[in-house]
């Protein structure tokens, strides 16, 4: 154990730097995913037919393919059409586009669960459809979807590790590099795992607070 700690200690700064990348990827991708997911969900429920089909097609495509494939398409495929992204930007883009599709489905279920009378009451006071969606339907749909959304963003926190495959020096990438240098993969991956557990635990605690704060009273 002492030996193990003694080994890991000098590598901690590198691992923490990697953790910083992990958090950046995660936060930016989740913000993007929530916005885009909301847009996709609204389009699927309220959009005109062609837009609705487009949104559905996108969601099915994303959910039907592995994240790793999507990430390689963004990082190595897009340069062929002239879009060159840094590994970090590519990872954020791929994970953001991916989570948007999943979040869209949770938000869509949330929108569907808002009672129809809410929209009618909003229209009855003179709110336009757009404003009724924005101020009445979506805030309730978000709250309804909150448990699934929280689950999704925790899963995505762990999936950021896929970014190591396109050489982003996030937590997993750092551990991999240290392992390659020292051949002590077992110890270094264990340390990385512990850091993931701590992150997931903290995020889960935070989300519990959010869930309690925003629970819909019925």
């Amino acid at each position: 154990m002492n030996d193990w700690l003694a080994f890991a200690w000098p590598h901690l700064p590198a691992l923490l730097k990697g953790t910083g990348y992990t958090l950046i990827i995660w936060v930016v991708a989740m913000l993007f995913g929530s916005l885009a997911g909301t847009g996709l969900a609204v389009t699927r429920v309220y959009g005109a037919t062609p837009w609705r089909r487009l949104a559905t097609g996108y969601i099915e495509l994303i959910r039907g393919t592995p994240l790793l494939v999507q990430m390689f398409i963004v990082y190595q495929g897009l340069p062929q059409v002239g879009i060159v992204l840094s590994p970090l930007t590519a990872a954020i883009t791929a994970i953001g586009l991916n989570t948007a599709a999943y979040q869209a489905e949770y938000f869509r279920a949330g929108i569907r669960a808002v009672r129809p009378g809410q929209m009618q009451a909003a229209r009855a006071i003179g709110l336009s459809r757009r404003r009724a969606i924005r101020h009445v339907v979506l805030p309730q749909a978000w709250r309804i979807a909150l448990p699934q959304w929280a689950n999704e963003v925790v899963i995505e926190l762990k999936y950021t590790s896929v970014a190591f495959a396109i050489s982003v020096p996030e937590l997993m990438g750092q551990a991999q590099m240290i392992g390659a240098d020292t051949f002590r993969y077992f110890e270094i991956f264990l340390v990385a795992a512990v850091i993931y557990v701590v992150l997931v635990g903290l995020v889960t605690l935070l989300l519990d607070v959010v869930e309690r704060r925003y629970a819909l009273r019925h």
Partner: protein, 259 residues
């Protein structure tokens, strides 16, 4: 009461699929008038009153609010709806918003009032329905009757020219009905123009200037409250009024027997 027509409905027809639910309905509401609509369930009362503020599309016929045609192809329905208050049977308060925010939403986003002016109206309207102390509560924390009074305050805050009520007391416990009817009576006293769908026959008889009896999507009979309740001309109306009276007597004797 002035004879100026606030709302005019002519030859309204509406189908759900192949079934006609409103069949050639015409009516006029003068400014300051209280119109009651009664009839058996399934008669099309809710559908009619929802058509009157454009919540329900119609198949033919025309509706005017003063000089503006609601049913015109280019009608600005959002603007028209903000001039008409609507009270739902099941309140439909916005569940994620506090009482004050329920009322504030339309003031800020539709009437575009500033914060202070909106707050002033929120408190004025809550006081009007006797719930000033509840402004911070959420709908789920209120009784049905309190929720309905908030929903009336929410509608009144828009300063509508016309108020529509669709069975405002039907979803309430008997003990909550009185409070809602009291608020509605005070509106009558203020001269508010109202169309009220209700099964509270005594209330309709007391406050309505004019009563429509509807059955199977048609207006069977229209007349003064006195005519409809005391001297109905149509057999169908008589049956309905007698049926309700019989039911009330039945209820009363049951209660008497139990005591």
């Amino acid at each position: 009461m002035s004879s100026r027509n606030l709302m005019r409905v002519s030859h309204l027809t509406k189908y759900f699929g192949d079934t006609p639910v409103l069949n050639d309905v015409s009516l006029e509401v003068a400014a300051g008038e209280v119109k009651g609509i009664i009839g058996p369930s399934g008669a099309g009362k809710s559908t009619l009153i929802r058509c009157l503020n454009g919540l329900e599309p119609i198949d033919s016929g025309r509706i005017w609010l003063e000089d503006t045609e609601l049913t015109a192809a280019r009608a600005n329905l959002d603007r028209l709806r903000s001039r008409i208050g609507f009270v739902f049977q099941d309140f439909n308060l916005f569940t994620h918003l506090s009482v004050a925010d329920n009322i504030r939403l339309g003031l800020r986003r539709v009437r575009r009032l500033g914060r202070d002016e909106a707050d002033h109206i929120v408190h004025r309207e809550l006081a009007r329905v006797g719930l000033e102390s509840k402004w911070q509560q959420y709908p789920a924390e209120l009784s049905g009757g309190q929720q309905q009074r908030v929903s009336i305050a929410r509608a009144l805050a828009m300063e509508p020219e016309l108020m529509l009520f669709d069975e405002p007391t039907s979803a309430l416990d008997p003990e909550s009905v009185g409070g809602v009817l009291r608020v509605m009576r005070s509106l009558v006293a203020e001269g508010m123009t109202m169309i009220i769908v209700s099964h509270e026959m005594a209330f309709i008889e007391a406050v309505a200037n004019d009563v429509l009896f509807m059955a199977e999507g048609r207006v069977v009979e229209e007349g003064s409250a006195e005519q409809i309740f005391q001297h109905p001309q149509q057999r169908r109306t008589r049956q309905f009024i007698d049926g309700i009276a019989a039911a009330l007597i039945g209820e009363a004797s049951e209660e008497g027997g139990g005591a």
